[in-house]
């Protein structure tokens, strides 16, 4: 990795029932993620993705580029917009700087024109 380098894009399309599986896996059963009717009743377009699932996609983009789970030392993100099932999520990552064996990477996740994770900043240890 070197400064200015674009890491491989990660593209994933969460299926219709992803939020239900992620709720079970993570323990976050907030009804805005699993109950279509409830989500609409509070003004959402329908069930929305868990922010932490989307953050996990940003994390995965880093660990897949850097060579494994031990390479990710820190990840910081802001959640904006709302992710929805059945639309492709694209994670883009760009190396800001490399200092010794640690790279600082800027990353974000988008669905179409909506940024659902912004100002992602990862510290990745290079092996």
């Amino acid at each position: 990795m070197e400064a200015g380098e674009q890491l491989p894009e990660l593209k994933v399309t969460p299926d219709r029932y992803l939020t239900v599986r992620y709720a079970g896996a993570s323990g976050d059963f907030n009804p805005i993620h699993v109950d279509e009717e409830f989500a609409r009743s509070v003004g959402l377009p329908g069930r929305i993705l868990h922010g932490l699932w989307t953050m996990a996609q940003v994390a995965r983009a880093q660990t897949e580029a850097a060579g494994g789970p031990g390479s990710l030392k820190r990840l910081s993100v802001q959640f904006r917009g709302m992710g929805v099932p059945e639309q492709e999520v694209v994670v883009t990552s760009k190396v800001r700087e490399v200092s010794g064996d640690v790279a600082l990477v800027d990353a974000e996740a988008r669905q179409g024109d909506t940024r659902i994770v912004r100002r992602g900043e990862a510290e990745v240890r290079l092996s």
């Binding site: 599986r21 896996a25 953050m55 030392k73 990840l75």
Partner: protein, 148 residues
């Protein structure tokens, strides 16, 4: 808006979570992990690990029993109907392996109001059985102001 700044500094009782092999598999599948260290026991052992390796973001699983009660603490008083998860930071130490027991405590790091919104910041500190800090999390929740 009634941000309860008195609650700043409150530290929750530590909660211990036992990391299970099948829970790592379930989580890894839900987030689409492709690295066999998370799902293939032989691959994990061949790489020198005692058991399956948890993905870094598995932190949301082992902190869950500690972070939930901190969010719902009446002394903190977050209005969940108006709450959104605004930002998240994790800093990781040694890898978490199936069989580990991870103990997490959560501190109310800050509560403030800006522009009619309440900002609630929690810090989670998770240690493994050897006393190593496996992850520090900073969880920022934003509560939109009401019309009242």
């Amino acid at each position: 808006m009634n941000a309860a700044s008195d609650a700043i500094g409150r530290v929750s009782d530590p909660v211990t979570y036992a990391v299970g092999r099948e829970k790592i598999r379930e989580y890894a599948n839900a987030v689409g992990e492709t690295n066999p260290l998370h799902t293939d026991l032989e691959a994990a052992r061949a790489a020198g690990h005692a058991d399956l390796v948890a993905p870094p973001m598995f932190v949301v699983v082992y902190t869950s029993p500690a972070i939930g009660p901190a969010f719902f603490d009446p002394a903190v008083g977050m209005d969940f109907a108006r709450m959104v998860h605004g930002a998240q930071d994790f800093a990781w130490g040694p890898l978490v392996i199936a069989g580990d027991e991870i103990t997490t405590e959560v501190e109310v790091a800050d509560i403030s109001e800006r522009g009619g919104m309440g900002f609630y910041v929690f810090e989670s500190r998770s240690d493994n059985g050897s006393g190593e800090r496996v992850c520090t999390g900073t969880w920022t929740c934003i509560v939109r102001g009401g019309e009242s």
